[in-house]
């Protein structure tokens, strides 16, 4: 069953389908992407194909990444500047890493789409049947409100520690 209304864009593997951040492999269609974005919920009006920069991700990258369940990226944006400062890197490198982190948050939607494509492809390749694949895609996607809250706490904590060291 598809989450996309009948009058929506045609599936990606059909000619004339709008691109979503480049061309998907033929096994990935809008149905799976919608399933991933909604976290396996019922048919949500998920808007696909938008890969604009995220201002929220720019200013609060940790919150954004944890909300989108992108844990490795979240850990990178927290840990890289801190490890660089511990290693007594020049301040320009440490500050530059902060800017890189913010830019990473800003391009978060693109990274998220790329991650979704990769995970959907992996699941489709490994799943024994369609039902299992759909269930797993739903579990892999979605958002985490608790992650966003904890991300906010982590941001405040890191800022507190950084200002205390000044």
């Amino acid at each position: 069953m598809s989450f996309i209304p009948a009058d929506a864009d045609p599936p990606l593997d059909q000619p004339g389908a709008p691109p979503i951040f480049g061309a998907f492999p033929h096994t990935i269609d809008r149905d799976d992407m919608a399933l991933f974005e909604s976290g396996g919920a019922a048919a949500l009006p998920v808007r696909l194909g938008r890969n604009v920069l995220s201002p929220f991700g720019f200013f609060f990258p940790v919150v954004w990444f944890l909300y989108k369940k992108m844990y490795l990226q979240a850990s990178a944006v927290v840990l890289v500047p801190i490890v660089l400062s511990l290693m007594h890197a020049p301040s320009i490198i440490v500050r530059g890493s902060g800017l890189v982190v913010s830019l990473l948050g800003a391009v978060g939607p693109r990274l998220h789409t790329a991650k979704a494509r990769r995970i959907i492809a992996e699941i489709r390749a490994a799943a024994p049947d369609d039902a299992t694949a759909r269930l797993t895609i739903g579990q892999a996607g979605g958002v985490s409100t608790a992650g966003a809250v904890l991300g906010a706490f982590v941001t405040i904590s890191v800022l507190m520690i950084a200002f205390a060291k000044l």
Partner: protein
């Protein structure tokens, strides 16, 4: 710049590699079904959330809530380390690991929580290793075998609690079971940290822990080691129980999705190979067992018995991790008769190879054993020395040298103990032996220069430091030490030049700032001396000498309460007889009772070495004449005159007090703090204002202190300025009244 070419660049990989064995254990317990992606997510989220308790700890520090030491240790161990850290791990486990799409079984959840704890511990490790400055290798090594596996083992217990909660149908039961798991993990974690926090207070342990130790007829450090061992054993057993419980809880239905393989494949092959478990698990188990056996051997040879407890504590977590690594990582498949035969042949070959290796390297193994025991004896000797038991300390150093005749740390340790005994000839013999073993070792030359300084052979001491500086011209410490020797010789300008050089080489060298403070103190410039010593203490708050010097400057200025605070800080960092005597004097001057505190410190100082007779005198256990007769060298006579003079001033016996201080100022070597103190006191109480250059402090006073015995008690009499004897009161056997 990033120190790419400094050995410190290895601090980061050293801090992170601490978890290698735990990673191995987690994957082998996962039996090829634990997802590496879940592992990565768990590590990442554990690392991120480690900043939450760090911020809470920072907030607590900023609040500066006044707590007594025991309550402070309880709150830090059970509140901050236990509840907060385990809450952060629980949050990561519950919100990130549990719902992750590749978490498919109960076992995955438990191992995921252990991985969260590992991520948490690794970030903590990075901070500890980087903040350990030059001691980072030792910090990294010690945390590799203790803190990192302990975090992971507590994580297994927490994970088992989550597994149990997940199996409940009722939401209320789930919440209760999660809360219970959190409290158990926090309690285990708190018990692990509690003795460590109390140990930081050495030797001023809080009273409840002293009473606890007394109840079991143990010393406080031994009691703390026992609590630490009990906590580590409880954590290890709890983790083993958690793993067994989850394993025995029945096989779960096979997940629909196949497990994710470890990538790259060679890494997967390595992680799950039987030989990996055999070698790595065996390495941990054998290493830990050998360590414990050697500690027992060292204890039999005379080292502190607590070293066995410490070895057990250090090894228990590693043994548990080794036990998790050792079994096969996947179920054993049915094997053919031929394969079984091949396996037996392989085992026989390995056993034969091991026996042959042992036979070939028996000499080297014995040498390693001797090295270990000698090292343990030196560590034990240093502990004895720090607790004031010099006889045991020297015995340990002797035994260490019997095991390894050319063991430099044992020679240096014995030299140090002999210096405290004021057996300077024996100390010099050890220093010479050390210098002949390592003639181009600047540290040995610096050590020998200190013995020469004790013997007032300043030229020889400076020559050694010159040689040390020649060997290592960029060593700021040697310049600072030479400055202190030049200061002793009264060559203030040269001392200043050396201090400038030391500070140009290392602007944050606390020792140099402190030495500048001493120079100013010797010049009676107290306010500038205090400013320099403030800076030195800010740079290195753990240096007792800086506190002691600042206390003396404040004492001379009449600021007795700040002086008392500094002397307490000095003694808490390293019990020192002279600092204890000054603390008594400062408390008496401030109108406080210093006797109980002096009694406390007396228990931690060598009883058979100078200046213990002076402490006995202040405590009323030795009479004035006996103190004076105990002083056999000029240095000791100088000190006896000063401290008895101070005591006489406290008794309002100004005339004999001034006389004694005058003699101290006369006979004390120029470098002695007692000479400086005597001059300062004479300026305070004397009728004339002295000058630095002349002998204006010398009053028209007495030349001799005449002592005679009256009645049953020992009573000292001293002539006053006019020559008439003053009869001291009955309590003149040393117990000072409040002024």
């Amino acid at each position: 710049m990033i120190e790419f070419f400094s050995p410190r660049i290895f601090a980061l990989p050293a801090a992170l590699s601490a978890g290698a064995f735990v990673v191995l254990a987690v994957f082998r317990l996962g039996r090829k079904e634990f997802s590496p992606r879940l592992f990565g997510v768990a590590i990442a989220t554990g690392a991120i959330l480690s900043f939450l308790p760090a911020a809470i700890e920072l907030l607590m520090q900023r609040l500066q809530i006044p707590l007594n030491p025991f309550t402070d240790a309880v709150i830090k161990a059970f509140g901050l380390a236990g509840l907060c850290e385990e809450a952060a791990k629980l949050a990561a486990a519950y919100f990130f690991v549990r719902p992750f799409y590749e978490r498919r079984s109960r076992r995955d959840l438990m191992l995921g929580v252990a991985s969260v704890a590992l991520g948490f511990a690794l970030i903590e490790n990075v901070f500890y290793v980087f903040s350990a400055a030059d001691r980072w290798p030792a910090t990294a090594l010690s945390r590799t075998i203790t803190a990192v596996p302990i975090h992971a083992l507590v994580g297994l217990t927490l994970g088992a609690g989550l597994v149990r909660a997940e199996g409940q149908a009722s939401a209320m039961m789930r919440v209760l079971l999660i809360g219970r798991a959190w409290l158990i993990a926090a309690t285990l974690h708190g018990f692990y940290d509690f003795p460590l926090f109390l140990g930081l207070r050495t030797p001023l342990y809080p009273e409840p822990i002293n009473r606890f130790a007394e109840a079991f007829s143990m010393t406080t450090p031994t009691a703390l080691s026992a609590i630490y061992l009990a906590a580590v054993l409880a954590i290890s057993l709890s983790a083993v129980g958690a793993v067994l419980a989850v394993w025995r809880s029945g096989r779960e239905p096979q997940p629909a999705m196949p497990p994710r393989a470890v990538w790259p494949h060679w890494l997967g092959a390595f992680l799950f190979a039987r030989s990996t478990g055999f070698i790595c698990g065996g390495l941990l188990l054998l290493g830990a067992t050998a360590w414990i056996a050697l500690a027992i051997n060292a204890a039999i040879a005379g080292a502190l018995p607590v070293s066995v407890l410490n070895a057990l504590s250090a090894c228990a977590a590693s043994i548990t991790v080794g036990a998790f690594i050792f079994p096969p990582a996947s179920r054993r498949a049915e094997r053919s008769r031929r394969a079984v035969l091949n396996g037996r042949l392989a085992w026989t070959a390995v056993a034969t190879a091991a026996v042959v290796t042992l036979a070939i390297f028996a000499g080297a193994i014995d040498q390693m054993r001797r090295n270990f025991i000698a090292g343990a004896l030196v560590a034990s000797g240093e502990s004895y020395q720090n607790s004031g038991d010099l006889a045991h300390a020297i015995s340990n150093f002797d035994t260490a040298l019997a095991y390894k005749a050319d063991f430099l740390p044992a020679l240096i340790g014995r030299m140090s103990a002999n210096r405290i005994y004021q057996r300077y000839d024996a100390a010099l013999a050890d220093a010479n032996a050390a210098a002949s073993l390592a003639p181009s070792n600047p540290a040995v030359l610096v050590a020998r220069s200190k013995v020469y300084e004790d013997l007032h052979q300043m030229d020889a001491a400076i020559a050694d430091l010159d040689q040390a500086i020649k060997l290592k011209p960029d060593d700021a410490t040697s310049f600072a030490l030479r400055a202190s020797l030049l200061l002793d010789k009264g060559e203030f300008e040269s001392a200043d030049a050396d201090l400038d050089r030391a500070l140009s080489l290392k602007p944050d060298l606390a020792m140099a700032r402190a030495a500048r403070g001493y120079v100013l103190l010797q010049k009676f410039d107290y306010s500038r001396s205090i400013a320099e010593l403030d800076a030195a203490i800010k740079l290195d708050p753990n240096q007792p000498d800086s506190y002691f010097a600042r206390a003396r400057a404040r004492y001379y200025l009449g600021d007795f309460k700040p002086a008392i605070a500094d002397l307490i800080q000095s003694n808490a960092r390293a019990p020192f007889a002279y600092a204890a005597l000054w603390l008594y004097l400062a408390r008496s001057r401030a109108g406080q009772n210093g006797r109980d505190e002096l009694t406390f410190w007396a228990g931690r100082l060598p009883h058979d070495a100078w200046p213990f007779p002076l402490i006995e005198f202040y405590l009323g256990a030795r009479s004035l004449p006996l103190v004076l007769s105990a002083a056999t060298t000029n240095d000791q006579r100088c000190e006896a005159e000063f401290y008895t003079g101070e005591w006489l001033l406290l008794q309002k016996l100004d005339t004999p007090g001034v006389a004694a201080l005058s003699r101290a100022a006369e006979i004390c070597p120029v470098s002695f703090i007692e000479r400086n103190g005597a001059i300062a006191e004479l300026r305070r109480v004397g009728p004339e204002s002295p000058t630095d250059s002349g002998k204006a402090w010398r009053l028209p006073a007495p030349t001799n202190l005449e002592v005679k015995k009256i009645d049953k008690d020992t009573v000292a009499t001293a002539p006053d300025a006019s020559g008439a004897p003053i009869v001291l009161p009955d309590n003149a056997n040393g117990v000072a009244d409040k002024p």
